[in-house]
């Protein structure tokens, strides 16, 4: 077991900067999710952690030991860091047991100990009955568990998971999320979990690092990330979100059309009169209710979709400005109908306009 300390880590491929000096500390035994869209730098971080690539700057320490820097990279086989791949990478010419035992055989363990650890690893992922099967006789979920058992059998100090569930079907994916968390809780190995799926990150991780453009946008607990995003990108990447553009009149006040809205100001913007956005989750928007005078808007229903558990309603509140609301399915607003929209100030946050320009 050991903690991971990443300091000012950067990686460039020619002129392209995949990582721009990131700092992360993962405490011993924690499960950190690296979450972000493709090209955000999360996979680069993982490759550097595993030792398959050399950083352009900064360093990585595991348990205090320097394992990666531009001058020196400890080769992958000497790091005690196991990796589970997106495409499983289960060796097709070895049985389940041979796959899992491979790393143990390299360590020249006594027969009895090897068998004991093999059985323990297979047991941990519930594969004991399938130990003599070849990978092509297994389902995707079972192959993924072989990959997990293989990584765990060598008792690594750190476990890396690279989008481990993205090749599974939706149903299995949900089940495996809990499975990964359960295995982590049993063994307590420091784990880094790379994913682009916010659901996976929220369910499995102790802490989530949201990345974009080679920069860590926010590091925090799943609740923090969802409830108190640090910018509009994080707010929109995690869960559904409304981004309503307006002009910041005063700290905590945003003008949209001729309405002044009140919100928690997290923009950090200096002056007033600058452009900013107001973010609110669609599930927090209320329709047709008298919620006091604050933050009430008049709108027209443009679209209404029934989704079983809730209704997804799109309301035009000004020219080219729409708000989405998830409301109880028994409310039935019709397209074209005028409606009162309430944005409770305690759920509204003001951010700087997201910088969507390509990272340079």
């Amino acid at each position: 077991m050991s903690d991971i300390d990443i300091r000012q880590l950067s990686k460039s491929y020619g002129a392209y900067q995949a990582l721009k000096s990131i700092d992360l500390h993962i405490p011993d035994g924690a499960l950190l999710a690296l979450l972000g869209p493709s090209g955000c730098g999360k996979s680069t971080t993982l490759q550097l952690l595993a030792g398959f690539d050399t950083p352009s700057g900064g360093e990585i320490r595991a348990g205090g030991e320097l394992i990666s820097s531009p001058q020196r990279v400890v080769p992958p086989e000497r790091r005690g860091i196991s990796l589970v791949f997106q495409n499983y990478a289960v060796w097709p010419h070895k049985t389940v047991a041979e796959n899992v035992a491979f790393g143990l055989k390299l360590r020249k363990l006594p027969r009895a100990e090897l068998d004991a650890r093999l059985s323990k690893a297979l047991e941990a992922v519930r594969l004991t009955p399938l130990r003599e099967r070849y990978p092509f006789e297994l389902s995707g979920g079972q192959q993924q568990r072989v990959a997990l058992a293989r990584a765990l059998a060598v008792e690594p100090r750190i476990l890396l998971l690279d989008e481990p569930l993205s090749n599974l079907d939706a149903h299995l994916r949900e089940e495996m999320r809990f499975e990964i968390r359960r295995v982590h809780d049993e063994l307590g190995i420091t784990t880094v979990y790379v994913t682009h799926d916010q659901g996976e990150a929220l369910v499995t991780a102790d802490e989530v690092a949201v990345m974009k453009g080679g920069i860590v946008q926010q590091l925090g607990s799943p609740e923090d990330i969802f409830e108190r995003p640090s910018n509009a990108f994080v707010a929109s990447f995690i869960g559904s979100n409304n981004e309503i553009p307006g002009r910041r009149e005063a700290p905590g006040q945003l003008r949209i059309g001729d309405t002044l809205l009140h919100a928690e100001d997290r923009s950090g913007l200096p002056g007033i009169g600058t452009k900013a956005v107001l973010c609110i989750r669609p599930s927090r928007v209320r329709l047709g209710e008298a919620g006091g005078d604050a933050n009430m808007l008049n709108g027209v229903v443009r679209r209404s979709a029934y989704l079983g558990e809730y209704r997804d309603v799109l309301i035009e509140i000004a020219a080219n400005t729409n708000v989405r609301a998830f409301v109880s399915p028994h409310i039935r607003p019709q397209p074209g109908e005028p409606v009162r929209v309430h944005l409770p100030p305690e759920h509204c946050q003001i951010f700087a306009v997201p910088d969507d320009a390509p990272a340079s």
């Binding site: 030991e65 860091i81 360590r107 192959q143």
Partner: protein
């Protein structure tokens, strides 16, 4: 706190790190040394020699000046260009429709035609030329004898000893290149692309001209280029069919330099240059065409069996499609086998003339043929093995980007593709028949030349096998503690095995039938089947030549069948691996 254990772990890791890099460096140095000996050295000597005078040994530009000044040097170049152009045009005109008929229509006997076109592919063209001498030599050729008997004419119907005859023989053995390229492009093209046009109201012909043909055009162009290169670089066919009438092409002119005494080594080196320049340019063009537009469009799934109906044209199409199988395989094979079974081929194929004498002679009685058979098998076996070892190492380094110099290695092993066999023969002769490395007459020299010639095939074979193995399978082994070498041995090598055997056979087969590379390098002791057949033919003992040729054809066909068997096994395993998500 616990600062000492991590410190020592770090130190041991750094020792491993250094050892690991030292290992890579050693492998790189050995590879570079081997490639320098196999490729840089022979080609270097060609360039060096081309600027020296044969009589005085001094630096000179005279050799090049002579190529432009002397008609006897100009004419073979012109003849080669004429031959190559004609071969490229004819094999495109034959090969493209043939590919379309086999891949896209309901013409009968498609399987038979595909099989026999492939048989033409593996038949050494100089043996085809031999068959056609038996069939269409002006006086004794069976077709001409038959023609005279039937028509009562006193002139021959066909004369194979002519430029027309040479173009014909070169073309029928070049068609398989165009055929393979175009038919696989047609087969790999997703059927949806044509269906999309059809659903928009486009008819069969309209779809063919507006969708199908533009999509396979790169394959057609590449086929044309490869055919042109074949026409430029073939040695055996013009040596058999054109040299007797005194007409020379570049390759046979090169051979003539070596028959002088002393051989005009330096002049021949300069004379290689136009050939290298032309093939180099054409391969560059091929690369450009393939690089710009990939004709192997996405989704190589097997086509649904919707074939274009030819209706009344089926028989006409079949007659056309049978042309290559009959002229390149059936007729010459029958001629060669019949002659090899005859006491004297002038007596004709009658029962009293039949004998197994020449086979008995070739296998049991004649030490020269015995030695050549053994040499062919042993040299091809050793050369194919070396080729694959170098090919795999380089492909592994390139595919997995292990070393900074990977691009240089890849370029080095690919260079021989633009060097015609006869030029490599000149190069190896120049480099290794002088002190301090005088290897003339040794098996090593011939094997080395074979290795150099077929490195590009071995490299591309190894590369495609490695592309089918996801690097993640190797990384998974590294991350649980296996070193690079251990990973290669436990994971990569076992996964490559099926493909390797097939790749080995795909190098072995062309080495078995290669003539031009060996031509200047063999001695009586190191003759291989091809060079022996070439030499015997001058002796005029056609029965013996045919028996030896039949043995070579037979051996090659067995190996081809074996290769097919193994390749299909490997393809099956690859499908399994792919279904595991192992292939990206």
């Amino acid at each position: 706190m616990a600062s000492s254990p991590p410190m020592s772990a770090a130190r041991s890791a750094s020792v491993g790190y250094r050892r690991h890099h030292a290992f890579r460096l050693v492998v790189l140095v050995i590879l570079l040394a081997v490639l320098a000996l196999l490729i840089v050295q022979p080609l270097g000597w060609i360039v060096f020699n081309s600027f020296h005078d044969d009589d005085t040994g001094r630096w000179t530009l005279r050799n090049y000046a002579q190529i432009f000044a002397s008609t006897s040097l100009w004419a073979p170049l012109f003849n080669s260009l004429l031959l190559a152009t004609a071969v490229a045009v004819i094999s495109t005109l034959l090969g493209v429709p043939l590919a379309w008929l086999v891949a896209r229509t309901d013409m009968p006997m498609r399987g038979f035609i595909r099989l026999f076109t492939m048989a033409a592919f593996v038949t050494p063209s100089f043996i085809g030329a031999l068959g056609w001498i038996l069939l269409a030599a002006p006086n004794s050729g069976w077709l001409n004898v038959g023609w005279r008997a039937l028509s009562g004419a006193d002139w021959p119907l066909l004369n194979i000893y002519s430029m027309t005859g040479t173009i014909f023989v070169c073309s029928i053995y070049t068609v398989p290149y165009t055929f393979t390229l175009v038919s696989s492009a047609l087969e790999e093209m997703p059927v949806e692309l044509e269906d999309a046009a059809t659903t928009l109201g486009s008819g069969v012909l309209k779809t063919m001209f507006s969708v199908t043909i533009p999509l396979v055009m790169p394959a057609v162009l590449v086929g044309f280029i490869l055919s042109f290169i074949q026409g430029m670089t073939l040695f055996g066919v013009p040596a058999f069919l054109l040299t007797p009438s005194g007409t020379l092409v570049v390759t046979t002119k090169l051979a003539e330099f070596y028959q002088l005494f002393p051989p005009a080594l330096y002049m021949s080196a300069a004379y290689c240059m136009p050939l290298i320049a032309i093939t180099g340019m054409l391969f560059y063009a091929r690369r450009r065409i393939l690089g710009r537009r990939q004709f192997t469009t996405v989704g190589g799934k097997g086509r649904a069996g919707r074939k274009i109906r030819l209706k009344g044209w089926r028989l006409v199409a079949l007659v056309f499609a049978l042309f290559v199988p009959v002229t390149a395989v059936v007729l010459p094979y029958v001629a060669i086998v019949l002659v090899s079974l005859s006491r004297a081929w002038g007596l004709g194929p009658v029962p009293s003339n039949l004998t197994l004498h020449w086979y008995r002679w070739a296998i049991f009685e004649n030490a020269e043929t015995q030695r050549a058979i053994v040499n062919s098998l042993v040299y091809a076996g050793i050369a194919a093995s070396f080729c694959m070892v170098i090919g795999i190492l380089v492909a592994y380094i390139v595919e997995r980007k292990l070393l900074r110099g990977a691009g240089l290695l890849a370029a080095l092993v690919t260079i021989p593709i633009i060097i015609p066999g006869i030029v490599l023969s000149v190069g190896f002769f120049s480099a290794y028949t002088r002190q301090p490395l005088n290897l003339y007459g040794t098996a090593m020299l011939i094997i080395a030349a074979f290795v150099a010639t077929f490195l590009p095939i071995a490299y591309s074979q190894a590369g495609s096998i490695l592309k089918g193995i996801s690097p993640d399978l190797e990384r998974a082994a590294r991350s649980v503690g296996a070193s690079e070498a251990r990973t290669f041995a436990s994971i990569t090598a076992p996964l490559m095995r099926g493909g390797l055997v097939a790749g080995w056979l795909l190098v072995f087969i062309p080495i078995m039938r290669e003539l031009s590379v060996a031509i200047f390098l063999v001695s009586p002791r190191t003759n291989v089947m091809t060079t022996l057949i070439y030499n015997y033919k001058d002796g005029g003992n056609y029965e013996a030549v045919c028996a030896a040729s039949a043995l070579l054809l037979f051996a090659t066909l067995i190996v081809v069948l074996l290769a097919r068997f193994v390749t299909e096994g490997a393809a099956y395993r690859r499908r399994n691996a792919a279904s595991l998500g192992a292939a990206p």
